[in-house]
């Protein structure tokens, strides 16, 4: 069936009497847990709500004016650093996860689902605990530095300075956390790929490398982009990892938002930062959202 035909059928079923009721629960859900909180945050951002008792509320764009001019305040620097970390982590994670997904789909055979479960096993442990475990590995008296001291590769007590509380440590832990998650959509695309196309490439004289570059890789691009988005969007708002293994120079934009809402009695400014991040995520979704379609034919067109 063509993609157009599929869309027509979906539209027709949507118009059937009574089907409106079916979309009511998800609509209510989205309005309640997504739209309403964003509206609420919006009210805070323009000072129509406040968390401070006795402080009058009145429409004001002062916080937006303070934040928005690029370069006008340190939050822009934090945003740029944050996005750099996010993009680097996303690209590196995708590059590292692709061979994993390829191995599972094309080499692992019948064991692939068992191996996939093994790959996902860390997710059965709390994210917080996994990050704290990295503290044990990376800290100045941790596993890596102790090993280097034992092997005589560094003077005892002299730890590698950038191993923890740095952008490196934040990037490393985020990379570790997301690799299995990113491998899954790529595995799904590769696993469901029409193998006869690859066989046809070989029959036409293509080498394994050429077949991969000309057939497998292009057909797996939707999965690659989906994996990229899977890590890009959540990492954009990350704050736990930098809080635990990041230093003062590697805090991310999410840390500023979190701090405004927990440590600072100024939710109004925090709301501006939060809405800015929501806008950035929406732009990302608009750019990449079509590749998140589960209909691979749709996504590939």
């Amino acid at each position: 069936m063509s993609a157009a035909g599929s869309r027509e059928r979906r539209s027709a079923s949507f118009l059937r009497p009574g089907s409106g009721l079916l979309i009511l629960p998800p609509t209510v859900w989205v309005l309640a847990v997504l739209v309403a909180p964003i509206v609420l945050i919006g009210l805070y951002s323009v000072n129509l709500k406040t968390n401070l008792l006795g402080v009058p509320t009145a429409f004001s764009t002062a916080n937006w004016k303070d934040f928005l001019p690029p370069g006008s305040n340190p939050f822009w620097d934090r945003f740029k650093i944050s996005m750099t970390i996010t993009l680097v982590v996303s690209v590196v994670t995708v590059v590292a996860a692709y061979p994993l997904a390829y191995f599972l789909a094309f080499v692992a055979g019948k064991r692939r689902y068992a191996l996939l479960m093994l790959l996902l096993a860390p997710f059965f442990t709390s994210y917080l605990l996994r990050v704290i475990a990295w503290q044990v590995i990376l800290n100045n008296h941790g596993v890596i530095n102790s090993l280097l001291w034992q092997l005589g590769l560094r003077p005892h007590g002299d730890g590698i300075p950038w191993l923890i509380y740095s952008k490196f440590s934040v990037g490393l832990v985020l990379f570790y956390s997301w690799v299995p998650f990113v491998a899954v959509p790529m595995f799904v695309v590769l696993d469901t790929m029409d193998r006869s196309l690859i066989e046809a490439a070989h029959d036409l004289g293509a080498s394994r490398l050429t077949a991969f570059l000309r057939v497998t890789l292009p057909l797996s691009i939707p999965g690659v982009i989906a994996g990229f988005v899977f890590v890009l969007i959540p990492t954009t708002g990350e704050f736990i990892t930098p809080l635990l293994v990041g230093g003062p120079s590697s805090f991310m934009f999410g840390n500023s938002i979190q701090s405004f809402f927990t440590d600072t009695p100024n939710w109004n400014y925090g709301a501006v930062l939060a809405l800015w991040l929501v806008a950035i995520v929406l732009v990302m979704l608009l750019l990449f959202g079509r590749y998140l379609s589960t209909d691979l034919e749709d996504a590939a067109t």
Partner: protein, 337 residues
């Protein structure tokens, strides 16, 4: 009961209290058991008051004097019935007065002490360790850790810059203090969040040589085997001073239990236990210097005399900040810079 408390102050008899010699809270847990006590730990003063502002309810809270007024004005607490606290009469009148608002006793003072620079004497040149400016010394880059406590850092910057009203900065002074803290920030290895899980291990193993701390870390170093060469600085500009007290949650369903609980902290034995464990001062005026185990520490910290908090040549008492929002927002800019 749910209690908003600083780590280390959990009642004797609870699993969370790891100092096995303490007796504060013991009378309560002996009578009612420990299973009914649930603690929520304070990371810093700002996050404590803000957690309450977001609607979290506690039966007993243990904030410090600089925020007493915020809890009262916010309507988060109610006055104590001091007739239900037999040991209340023993408390230092000046600290008791600091807990009174609208003619009622909203805070029962318990502990007081100093905030200052703690440093490793085996690593830091004594000539460098004279005042708060040690935090700004580039020689010790990546060996410094200030507290992730917003208002305290502005007080430190204000003292370093010589501003007379550290808790009531003008806009211009606030900008200068912000800039100064932005300059200082890259020298920190990390901003410590937890005294026991971040700060203490890093100071002990030598990852950090210089940090903001309270005197209990100095005493920890003295009692450590082998002792850790710490010094708790008396900066030329003066130390920071603080006192904290128990407040009673407005909607508590455990009104009488809360009073029993606090009495088990302010009685003489409990107050002495506080001092002999952490070498913090106690609000209990009946604790005599001679009862304190380490006389040398007691003397050097003037622990027997809370009136030292009003000696501005040595101590600057942390007090309520009228421009709290501006200071906190400035701190966010520092951390983002």
């Amino acid at each position: 009961m749910t209690i908003l408390e600083w780590d280390g102050y959990q009642a004797a008899g609870t699993k969370a209290q790891t100092y096995k010699t303490v007796v504060f809270g013991k009378d309560y847990t002996d009578e009612f058991g420990a299973s009914g006590l649930t603690y929520s730990l304070i990371q810093n003063d700002s996050s404590a008051i803000n957690s309450v502002r977001t609607g979290k309810k506690f039966d007993v809270l243990h904030p410090c004097a600089e925020n007493f007024r915020d809890y009262v004005d916010g309507g988060f607490v109610q006055p104590w019935d001091t007739s239900l606290l037999p040991s209340f009469a023993n408390l230092n009148p000046a600290l008791v007065k600091g807990g009174q608002f609208n003619g009622q006793q909203y805070a029962i003072p318990w502990d007081w002490g100093y905030g200052s620079v703690i440093y490793r004497t085996d690593m830091v040149d004594p000539a460098d360790a004279t005042g708060w400016e040690l935090f700004w010394n580039p020689k010790y880059k990546d060996r410094i850790s200030m507290w992730n406590g917003a208002t305290t850092n502005f007080e430190i910057a204000a003292l370093k810059l010589g501003f007379p009203q550290m808790d009531n900065l003008t806009n211009d002074q606030l900008d200068q203090a912000t800039q100064s803290l932005i300059e200082q920030k890259p020298l920190n290895k990390f901003l410590w969040a937890s005294e026991y899980t971040n700060l203490q291990p890093a100071l002990t193993n030598g990852d950090i040589w210089i940090a903001y701390s309270w005197q209990d870390q100095w005493v920890y170093g003295r009692e450590h085997k082998p002792p850790i060469p710490f010094n708790f600085m008396q900066p030329t500009q003066g130390r920071l001073g603080w006192y904290c007290g128990f407040m009673l949650g407005k909607d508590t369903a455990n009104y009488y239990h809360a009073h029993k609980y606090v009495e088990s902290y302010i009685n003489h034995a409990a107050a002495l236990s506080l001092t002999n464990t952490f070498y913090y001062g106690s609000a209990d005026a009946t604790v005599k210097g001679s009862e304190i185990a380490d006389q040398q520490v007691a003397k050097s910290l003037s622990i027997g005399d809370p009136n030292v908090l009003s000696d501005t040549s040595k101590v600057h008492l942390q007090s309520w900040e009228p421009n709290e929002v501006a200071v906190q927002t400035a701190w966010e800019k520092v951390t983002a810079a």
